[in-house]
Amino acid sequence: MNHLPLIIKREYLNKVRNKSFIIMTFLSPIIFMALIGVVAYLTQLNNDKIRLISVLDESGLVKDTFKDSEHTTYHVLEDMSLDDAKDLSKETEAYGLLHVDKIQDLKNLSKHITFYSEESPSINTISDLENQIEAKLTNMKLLQNGVDVDMINASKISVEIAQESFDGQKTSKIDSVIKIAFGGALGYLLFMFIIIYGNMIMRSVIEEKTSRIIEVIISSVKPVQLMLGKIFGTSLAGITQFLIWTILGFILMFVLSAVFGIDLAQVQTPQQQMVQQAMENPELNMRIQDVLTAFYNLPLLNLVLAFILFFIGGYLLYSSFYAAIGAAVDNETDTQQFMMPIIMPLVLAVYIGIFTVVEDPHGTVSTVFSFIPLTSPVVMLMRIPFGVPIWQQVLSFSILVGTFMLTVWFAAKIYRVGILMYGKKPTYKELIKWIKY
């Protein structure tokens, strides 16, 4: 008798009707949006403040250098001692005081500049000041050495290497960024999905054990069927939740931008600026175009197919582990010991994806780990945007499916014995023994 559809249906409905599931589904996007809003608001608050920096330049060489910017104004002090300047800065509630000693030698001067402040200043402020002074002093030094600054500026040449593959496909640096972002997003999505819904499967197995219904069910269906039904039912619930999140996210975004149009425009300050600059600058305008072409240049069909297959394969592989763990223990606190071996390869995969694949998508490390079944779903998904030969994808997927079958068999064994064991937490040795029963 095949009860799989019946079990899947129950698991699905049970998850979807669960109050906390419903609340999470509808509240999460709102909370998420609210968080973004708060962060944006706070950034804006910070940005609105204009910093006042006092400058006491006893050498008189750099005092004209500083140009007021959007967030900083400079107040140049003249004819007073350092102590007076400090007091004055404190009184005017200045962010800090930049002091330059009375030295005329340019080279020596660089070692006699000090920034005084109440609290330690932000790195940005200091490096901004350093840059400005450096530029000024360098220019002065060049002049002293009789070099024509205008000529140097005129002689500067900026190089941008055009990239093209052997079969004629044009690419650019933007391409790589898009690929990394896209692959990374997919890999990370899988990682999150496995952890969230794997845990959900585990909890649902434990729930059946603690409510003692398991033996009643097991006398009607094969344990493997129950386990698979659980995995599929929970996964469907997970996909439902993800879909709702995506749709809600778009709707919320739309509503927010419609209602608080101006606010949202400010929320996206950095991007907004980039777009504005792009409009003004023809060269940057090209860049936007590049982003779009880069996106279309991605092996999209391959990506979508691979995403679906590797996502399902990887998820099922891990969720069978989660089901087995749930069966082996009596309560959630006992799961920690068994979680480690699952989380480790997942984290490893994400790290390899972020560090190694980005550096060298077709290097030995990336390639090897895109074949090892525990890491292959994440690593392969991150590699595919860079173009992976089909045979590698097929081979990796075959290994994944083979391993999946093996782990389901293995997990089912542990599951079958574990669900009827109560009381003590098993050791790894006992788990191995169970497989032989």
Binding site: M1, H3, L6, I7, R10, N14, N18, E207, E208, S211, R212, I213, E215, V216, I217, I218, S219, S220, V221, K222, L420, Y422, K433, K436, Y437
Partner: protein, 308 residues
């Protein structure tokens, strides 16, 4: 009468631990079969083998003339000792789900559930969640779910635990009713008085081995020791006791009576007849009490387990 269930030399090991050692049983059709044994004897493992939850290492199980296979799941109803229900699911939904797992169609399951819910007077629980019900109430639902698909073989493991005396009685009557309708019932319990009351046959499992099996009356006959419990009024009781001790195997007995009689257990030799004893007693005084001691299941259980 043929046997509904035959267990032939079933063995099961878990690692080094032997849970069942060549256990054989015959459960006659239409009977209530008491499966007894101390804790950890292997009863649950045997029941799980019959339910195909656990696969035996060797031996076979024959149900109604056929070797046990997957289709037989719907011929068996099992109420495990460790039992429960989904806490957050509604009673009706849950019962429907479990019934469908046993192979009933949804409409069929609904009709039968309605019948049983009315019969046990629990119709208004349909939309309640299990966590709102008391333990006894949940047990009733589990009982209904177990018998709903009208299996040939019913296995009840401690069916009365958690019930108050009134509900235990209701369930007991239902079990007898099911037997009368033709179901065969395996009944595992530590409550010997209910074995006494319900079972036609019993088997005793101890330390993975079956050490006793048969009709309850036959087993009792086998264990009876020809001992009679006797009460007699006499003017000189110590003297009478001494006189009796010379002729018979005598020990003190303890039972409640209204008068202060001489109370004795008298064990007869094979050559001695009960009528001879009664005649002898009657000639010595007024006999107020004369009962053959039939061993209770409890005594048989304790005696057999201790001797093994």
């Amino acid at each position: 009468m043929s046997n509904l269930l035959e267990v032939n030399e079933v063995s099961k090991n878990f690692g080094n631990f032997t849970a069942l050692n060549k256990v054989s049983l015959s459960v006659p059709k239409g009977s209530i079969f008491g499966l007894l044994g101390p804790n950890g004897a292997g009863k649950t493992t045997l029941i799980r083998v019959i339910n195909q939850i656990t696969m035996p290492d060797s031996g076979s199980v024959i149900l109604d003339g056929e070797a046990l296979r997957e289709n037989h799941i719907r011929d068996i109803g099992y109420l495990p000792e460790e039992r429960g229900l989904y806490k957050t699911m509604k009673v009706g939904e849950q019962a429907l789900y479990l019934a469908q797992l046993k192979g009933l169609s949804k409409t069929e399951a609904k009709a039968r559930l309605k019948y049983w819910f009315d019969r046990l007077d629990i119709g208004d629980w349909w939309n309640k969640k299990i966590q709102e019900l008391s333990k006894g109430m949940a047990q009733k639902i589990q009982f209904v779910v177990t018998v709903l698909h009208e299996p040939k073989l019913l296995i009840f493991d401690e069916p009365f635990s958690g019930f108050d005396p009134i509900n235990a009685d209701i369930i007991k009557d239902e079990i007898l009713h099911l037997r009368d309708q033709g179901a065969t019932i395996i009944f595992s319990t530590h409550r010997m008085e209910s074995v006494e009351e319900l079972c036609d046959d019993i088997a005793l499992i101890h330390k993975s081995n079956k050490i006793l099996e048969g009709k309850l009356v036959d087993v009792k006959r086998q264990f009876k020791s020809n001992t009679f419990e006797v009460g007699i009024r006499s003017n000189n009781q110590p003297e009478l006791k001494q006189e009796l001790a010379q002729k018979f195997d005598v020990s003190d007995a303890y039972f409640k009576t209204l008068e202060n009689e001489l109370k004795l257990n008298i064990k007869l030799q094979d050559s001695q007849k009960s009528n001879d004893l009664l005649g002898f007693l009657a000639s010595k005084g007024e006999v107020s009490h004369f009962v053959e001691l039939i061993p209770s299941v409890n005594d048989i259980f304790i005696q057999t387990v201790k001797n093994n």
